[in-house]
């Protein structure tokens, strides 16, 4: 590869903003995941985290003037979609069983 990295000078505002936003997204995702009991909300929070990571990639991509970050994001979206499908299926299955969306209802498996 090119030994000289075509990098933007550090502190590019857009990059910084993007990174900040991505960190916030990720953090919100985590906090939401930890604090919410509704499985659908929890899933959405994981999506938030995914998107946070994706945003970080795009920002870094801009910093490095490189497109692969954006390419990755497309794949992330695809995988997230697959996961969403899976998650919804699973949530429906679980809901059918216990008539609740609360994740706390499922704690049968634990250290006795």
């Amino acid at each position: 590869m090119n030994p000289i990295d075509p990098q933007l000078p550090p502190g590019d505002p857009l990059v910084m903003l993007g990174l900040l936003a991505s960190a916030i997204l990720f953090a919100v995702g985590i906090v939401g995941f930890l604090s919410r009991r509704n499985m659908i909300t929890m899933f959405l929070c994981t999506e938030l985290m995914f998107q946070g990571a994706g945003l970080a990639m795009i920002s870094y991509g801009r910093q490095h003037m490189d497109l692969s970050g954006q390419v990755f994001v497309i794949f992330i979206l695809t995988v997230a979609a697959a996961e969403a499908a899976l998650a919804l299926g699973l949530v429906v299955l679980l809901y059918r069983r216990k008539e609740t969306l609360s994740a706390e209802a499922w704690k049968e498996l634990a250290e006795s």
Partner: protein, 528 residues
Amino acid sequence: MVDMSQTVALLAPEIVLFVASMLVAVLGLSRSTGIRSLVPWVCVAALVGSILALEAVWTPERIQGARLLFPMLGKYGKALIALIGIGLVAVSAGSIDRRYEEAVARGRASFDALRVVRGEYYAFLLLSLTGAMLVMSAPDLIWLFLGLELVSLPTYIMVAVARTGRRSMEAAMKYFFLGALATAVTLYGFAMLYGATGTMQLIPMRDALAEQAAGAGLSTTALLGTILTVLGLCFKLAAVPMHFYAPDVYEGAPLPVTAFLSFTPKIAGFSALITVLGTVGWSGHAMVDHDGVRIAYEGLPQPITAVLWMVAALTMLLGNIGGILQTSLKRTLAYSSIANSGYMLVGVIVGPKGGIGAMYLFMLGYGVMTVATFGVLAALERKGEEVDSFESLAGLRASHPGLAFLLTLSALSLLGVPPLFGALAKIVLVFVAFEGGQASLAAVLLLNTAIGAVYYLRFVGAAVVNPTNAKSQEVVVVPHWWPKTAAVVAGLGLIVLPAFLSRLVDASATTVDGYVDLGEAVASDEQR
């Protein structure tokens, strides 16, 4: 540029598996019992086929063209996956859909394509194995990520569908949500690695990091990115601090899936781990001391070593002390799986100079032991349910001496009694730890081996020593020969493999052939 056709050709094993997975998904829906029962055979054939394909396509030129960080990793690793995959198929065969199939066979139920899961179960199993294989030939982070997801997503479903019940659903839920969390962490780590180096490709990434290392040292972004990636991957390994799901999920999941979970994500995770760590490198790093002098040292960058040391030590410890308290077989084996991840992490820390080879050697042993142990357990049932307590195993040697012997064999091998293969692989691991300057980890490993002995002995005690009780009298052998065969073959392997230890050590050492460590990359840079 890379010759695409060559790269695709390299993926022949994966392609074989992928095609087979499509095939079994369809075959599983057939109305014909005969065709449906062909499914495991197809899987085995596909796995054998993938090994053959691997042998056929894995030529030096192609590898050269693929520009892989660990060019030879796939050769050993994919064969290992396929081999153990056969065992895992055999462990599964017979128990998936069994009651429904029995009902159909006796005419109590009519065949309903919507109710059978056999096809998709095996399809997912093969897909997951495909993912694990793909991880091994990832040239960049995107590929790596997709490979990892291909490993995980099918397993989420396998946990849920293989045997519907509250516990497996709960397991699936936990596995899925926590898995997603971990994936997000990995992903963020990937993003930071990308940010630190400006490339998704692993070899340029390694070069960029080498440049950093040769200069002022790795950037904080690179370091944190690596750490986050490692921690995210810890979920796959079931390593501290991402191991908490494992006992619950392993216990809740159907037995064959538990077997699958304790091997496939692990090997995929370890492969991903060394791939990521390979960009950081096990050499060429330096530390600035108080006088501003740079001191070069062997091994991963110090913070990463520190983290991995801690992770490895805690993983072994928490795994083993957790295992002592259990009454459920699968839960115990979950903790055992955690502890074994800890052992293997020692090899990762030591790195390409023996460590990774030893890790893969141990992985082979672990896979064989997993197949043997779960094979025995899958061959048993009590009142139509799988056997999941030590009590149920009591007196096994009276009713089923062969199975009891096999279980003893695999438990002793897990425990580390020479000359069984598990012990020898562990000795090699301890040895490379010494060699890699990780004597303290070697000591921790040995200590943990002793702690682990407590619960492995419980298998032995239950199966061979204890007299039959009311609960274990009802234990019968399932009317399928698959799991039993898997256990027998794997058990024999534990006895026979030591004879080929030397060759296996050499073979597993080839995983790092062609890998250029950071220090060497720096040196070659300077030469240029």
